[in-house]
Symmetry: C2
Subunit: 278 residues, 2 copies
């Protein structure tokens, strides 16, 4: 299974141009033989909204032109498309969503459950856990950006059988990058190691209203190896993955990354919405 993660520079508010940009990235991935392509979070609207009103004006429903275009392209280019959209849901709420599309069908719509900073002013958070989607290629788990900093969320995807975790993301560059690897790649690699899954992360690039981005687009293997080099600016990364490797959770003759869990000891993780006062 060949995966491409596209690192794009959407221009905020330029819906039509950004749709064409995403479509071109998908077409290029298909030419490169990709079976599955991951696009960044909010890759058609842009990210740094002035206010909730602007996000609402740039939002579109699941049957809107972006996803209509991806559905058609998934058939034409015979490719599974996972990408982030600014969604106007059926109840008129604005969501930071990711869709999984194959063969002209929307297999899943996931609404980001962990919102970052000003997203809380703009989006309604999702109330469903990140999903695992049965595509014809692999079982694909989906999280969006900050979701991936919650190891509970990543673990749930692995427990539900995800072989590849696709992460559309927009990582603002908030502080100097960690050396030798930025935090966003450390975390992706760790998610891959501890869950024995592939992680396919598509980040954005380009200055937007004063914000720069990490550009942490990468594909990590179940052992944690980064299979791809970093991209500066627009571009993409590619790797051939074997979902069977991600079904193998054995670590040694007597160890299994998931079966060795001691969930009877982890009660506090899921039990309480508040942490113990420190």
């Amino acid at each position: 299974v060949r995966i491409v993660c596209a690192q794009l520079w959407p221009r905020i508010g330029e819906l039509e141009a950004n749709r064409e940009r995403a479509a071109a990235a998908v077409a290029l991935a298909a030419v490169d033989g990709a079976d599955l392509v991951v696009l960044p979070e909010l890759c058609v609207s842009g990210y740094v909204f002035e206010d909730a009103g602007e996000a609402r004006r740039l939002a579109e429903p699941i049957d809107g032109p972006t996803i209509e275009g991806w559905r058609e392209q998934s058939v034409r280019d015979r490719i599974v498309i996972i990408g982030g959209v600014c969604e106007l849901d059926d109840d008129g709420r604005v969501r930071n969503s990711a869709v999984v599309i194959e063969g002209g069908e929307v297999l899943a719509v996931y609404r980001k459950a962990h919102l970052w900073d000003r997203e809380k002013l703009v989006f309604e958070p999702g109330d469903e856990p990140p999903p695992v989607v049965e595509t014809s290629l692999a079982k694909v788990g989906v999280g969006i950006c900050y979701d991936s900093q919650f190891p509970e969320a990543m673990r749930m995807l692995a427990l539900a059988g995800a072989e590849v975790i696709a992460v559309p993301t927009n990582n603002p560059l908030l502080s100097p990058e960690l050396e030798p690897l930025p935090g966003e790649l450390l975390m992706a690699s760790t998610t891959a190691i501890v869950n024995r899954v592939y992680v396919a992360q598509a980040d954005r690039t380009g200055l937007e209203r004063g914000v720069e981005w990490v550009g942490a687009t990468a594909i990590a293997a179940p052992g944690g190896q980064l299979l791809t080099e970093r991209v500066r600016g627009e571009g993409s990364v590619r790797a051939d993955v074997d979902p069977a490797l991600a079904r193998e959770k054995r670590l040694s003759e007597r160890n299994d990354a998931l079966a060795d869990r001691r969930p009877e000891l982890y009660g506090a993780i899921a039990a309480s919405p508040l942490r113990t006062p420190g």
Copy 2:
């Protein structure tokens, strides 16, 4: 608070020499101004036991000479000592344990809950979650080696208020190290980032019955920065840490690494001992 993590080369079965080695490492840490020292897993017995019988012969009770020595030294050198021992418990079972000692007192005994490979033939696993111990310096969480590959366990320590997570470890070198960072340092750094805690990890070194070791001794800051350089062979790493930084969980004006959790979505993490069939 100055932390030293000592990377030691215990010789299997040489209890007296290994006790002296550990005592010397603690004394050296104290000379260097350390307030807290972390010693490796099983640092007095060695690790690669022939069989359960050998481990049992090398085990000692909590009131045995190793911990008796550490208690005395904690007073003499005014230092908090965290280290790994092969424990014979009150019921005659052999445990892979870590102790936290301050002011001559054993503040906690933790029995490793996640056992690695042949440890399952040798040790009785612990049935209590990793603890958080109130020392006079900081709230110290404790995990042992493979425990730290379970993000649930590390998260529990953070939720219970740990400011420093101390990890006595023995990481066998099983495959070529990941570049640019071995998995054991990736995971330590990620634990620090996602939980906003310090991680103080003490690994072992030296060939033992054909087994080599990663030597992943390190101290990571709450932002994930590795504060220390790698040690080859015996040696130690040192960093000055500020527990108050680990109490600050804010990531942005509107984000908090722990309060942003959505535990109502994480039910599967703690609910079931078995994973969904893949």
